[in-house]
């Protein structure tokens, strides 16, 4: 689960990290008032709150001037103009996808122009099953790029999950990053806050990027990102409250309600599969034979007929979809049950586009009989025998 920059910074501040003052705004007028409150004669920064990264380098879609999601404003008037533009135009960044992201929340932040930018973050190191802090004096840029090109510029420290980051580890990192004696205290505070948020709130990523040294020499969290472990939000009511449904794909939310694991893509072949691995592999085989999947959809092992029908509705709600690929390996679950659900779906939803079905495993013969019996009633259903045959067929039909 993702949260906004301002939520991440407020959480870090609650754990003791120094964060520049900000005011959360929903309208241009609020932005103007916040400017008066925070500018202190020297201007302020207006920042669009969307879940996607790369806001600074992004561009408001359909806006005449060059303007992304982060802008220094010297005057109240400019603050309001910028805010109006941001609230009106969607923001496109390298992470939003081509359709961009609507902006409904802004923050006005006290100006804290960085003299130097660092990166600190905490993630899981899957290779050893331990969280680790990563830190680099090359901040303000994409840390994955730094990791790929200059791995030696990234310091890594593993952290025991029972203790969290130990004070000496934080202090050593701060010294090793080259901070001055006066700055060590603030850096340690930020690192300890990072670790506390990570462990106490079950985060999966906590990043401060940049951790900035301002021109005055102060050390602050200038931008922050926190993702939470979806499996653990059940025990954090406060984290649940940070969720902004407006940032999420409405179809994916709808699918989740039916216990379906659905991710929208931009192809034209809808996929309905049981099992996450097979669902990915189904997308891959479609792609392998020249097709383009419209979605990832894992209906899971224990899918009910009702949810399977909802799955078809969801796939069909995407206008781009020209054909559907049902790929099910009946393990414990019976193929016959899937076939029945398919018939139910066809009757309730109606199939106006071809549905290629590949079933294998438990009770596959009975399933084929069921589908054969409705051949005339639901002619859109095409039963394929092998996986390759099915993939080729659905690619062909979607053309």
């Amino acid at each position: 689960m993702k949260v906004h920059e301002y939520q991440a910074k407020e959480l870090l501040a609650a754990y003791g990290a120094p964060v520049p003052k900000h005011v959360v705004c929903k309208t241009a007028d609020e932005v103007g008032a916040a400017f008066d409150q925070l500018s202190n004669g020297g201007g302020a920064v207006v920042k669009a709150q969307v879940h996607a990264g790369g806001r600074g380098a992004g561009q408001l879609m359909g806006y005449a001037d060059k303007l992304g999601g982060v802008k220094f404003v010297p005057t109240k008037e400019k603050a309001k103009t910028v805010a109006e533009a941001m609230l009106k135009h969607s923001l496109k960044t390298k992470q939003t996808g081509p359709e961009g992201q609507k902006i409904s929340t802004l923050i006005v932040q006290a100006d804290a122009e960085p003299a130097k930018e660092f990166y600190v973050g905490m993630v899981l190191d899957r290779s050893v099953g331990l969280p680790m802090v990563m830190a680099s004096a090359e901040g303000g840029m994409d840390i994955e790029e730094v990791a790929a090109k200059h791995p030696e510029k990234i310091l890594k420290v593993h952290v025991a999950p029972e203790t969290g980051l130990l004070p000496f580890q934080a202090q050593k990192l701060a010294f090793d990053l080259g901070f001055s004696n006066e700055q060590i205290g603030s850096v340690v505070k930020i690192l300890m806050a990072l670790s506390k948020v990570y462990f106490e709130k079950d985060a999966s990523i906590v990043e401060v990027n940049p951790l900035a040294v301002t021109k005055k020499g102060d050390v602050v969290v200038l931008d922050a990102k926190i993702d939470f472990d979806d499996n653990a939000t059940f025990r954090h009511k406060d984290v649940q409250a940070l969720r902004d449904m407006g940032e999420e794909n409405p179809t994916e939310i709808r699918a989740a309600k039916a216990s379906l694991n659905y991710i929208q893509l931009d192809g034209n072949i809808g996929c309905l599969v049981n099992g996450a691995g097979l669902a990915m592999a189904t997308m891959d085989i479609v792609n392998h034979h020249g097709g383009s999947p419209a979605n990832f959809l894992d209906v899971g092992g224990g899918v009910t007929a009702e949810n399977a029908v909802e799955a078809f509705r969801i796939i069909l709600s995407d206008d781009k979809v020209k054909a559907i690929f049902v790929n099910v390996f009946g393990g414990i679950a019976s193929c016959a049950r899937i076939a029945e659900a398919l018939v139910k779906a066809g009757r309730e939803v109606g199939f106006k586009i071809p549905v290629v079905v590949r079933l294998e495993g438990n009770e596959v013969e009975k399933a084929r009989e069921i589908l054969n019996s409705v051949k005339d009633e639901l002619p859109a259903i095409r039963v394929a025998k092998g996986l390759t045959e099915a993939a080729k067929l659905v690619v062909e039909l979607a053309k």
């Binding site: 099953g129 029972e162 462990f199 025990r235 991710i263 099992g275 996450a276 990832f296 414990i332 495993g361």
Partner: protein
């Protein structure tokens, strides 16, 4: 021969009175596994009745179950919020093999449980978020469909399978059995970021198991376990190895069903993994329809 489990393995089910625990204890019993009891706190003292009519004693704690039944393995169906604690309980009670089926365990719970397990060197965890482990014809601990598997006859060899995915494993087993290949042992290692037993642990065991002829490794995007496994194969594995990676078309930054199946723009991608596997001389399947053929190619290549 086989690895980790065979007909002598004595299994209990943690969460035996729950619907999934009960269902799969039944199915595993029907397959012929040697289940000797179950654990459900506050249900201790009752008898769990299999659909076959067989009865198993239910205990309040794993320690009691071990003491009274001599169990050495556990199939774990405990809800996600309590599962890590149940894993530690099993390890503390002396269980040697814990097979954790549960999906959705918080990552930090598993990080702590993994640290706890490091203090119990005799205990091995499979999973969590996995279909389980099966030595065909001998012992099934998990939710995989038993009937698709082909037992390896005494004195013969079969294919060992290591997989991060459930249905994709069934697909592979089905293809292999259809082609006449039996399996030695199939291990679902789980789709989570933190798992108890990884590819390298199992590659080592299969390499040493005289009952295993070749190894099929099914991976997916996220992490770098396949890359590390590939490096291990290049150095230490003499047996034929085939592999498949799911998620070539997965968009970066998205969690593809499994909590561990997430690639960034630059790390954990299928492309990198396939390149590493191929570099190690592993036969990589092009599509999920090619799994059995890839194993055949791997075996053929070694025979040259």
């Amino acid at each position: 021969m086989s690895i980790l489990v065979d007909k002598n393995t004595r299994v209990i089910t943690q969460g035996i009175t729950g619907s999934e625990g009960s269902k799969h204890t039944n199915l595993s019993l029907e397959y012929g596994s040697n289940f000797v009891g179950g654990v459900t706190p506050k249900k201790g003292g009752m008898m769990w009745k299999a659909t076959s009519g067989k009865e198993l004693p239910v205990f309040n704690t794993v320690a009691e179950a071990v003491a009274k039944t001599g169990a050495d393995a556990s199939m774990l169906f405990v809800p996600p919020g309590l599962a890590a604690d149940a894993i530690m309980e099993a390890a503390d009670a002396g269980i040697k093999l814990i097979v954790a089926i549960t999906e959705g365990i918080p990552v930090l719970d598993m990080a702590k449980a993994k640290r706890f397990l490091q203090t119990k060197p005799d205990c091995r965890l499979i999973g969590p978020n996995c279909p389980g482990i099966i030595t065909p014809g001998q012992c099934k601990i998990g939710i995989m469909p038993g009937y698709i598997h082909k037992p390896t006859e005494p004195g013969k060899t079969g294919i060992g399978i290591i997989s991060r995915s459930g249905t994709l494993t069934y697909e592979a087993v089905f293809q292999l059995s259809s082609m006449g290949y039996s399996q030695s042992t199939c291990v679902g290692i789980g789709g989570d970021p933190i798992i108890g037993t990884n590819q390298i642990d199992l590659l080592k065991m299969f390499e040493e198991d005289p009952g295993t002829e070749a190894i099929l490794m099914i991976g997916e995007i996220g992490g770098d376990a396949e890359e590390r496994a590939a490096a291990y194969v290049a150095q230490h594995v003499k047996k034929p190895v085939a592999a498949f990676i799911a998620g070539k078309t997965a968009p970066p930054g998205r969690r593809m069903g499994h909590a561990g199946a997430i690639a960034s723009t630059s790390a954990g991608t299928a492309k990198e993994k396939v390149a590493a596997l191929e570099k190690a001389g592993i036969a990589v399947a092009a599509t999920p329809a090619d799994l059995g053929d890839a194993v055949q190619r791997a075996i053929a290549a070694k025979k040259k």
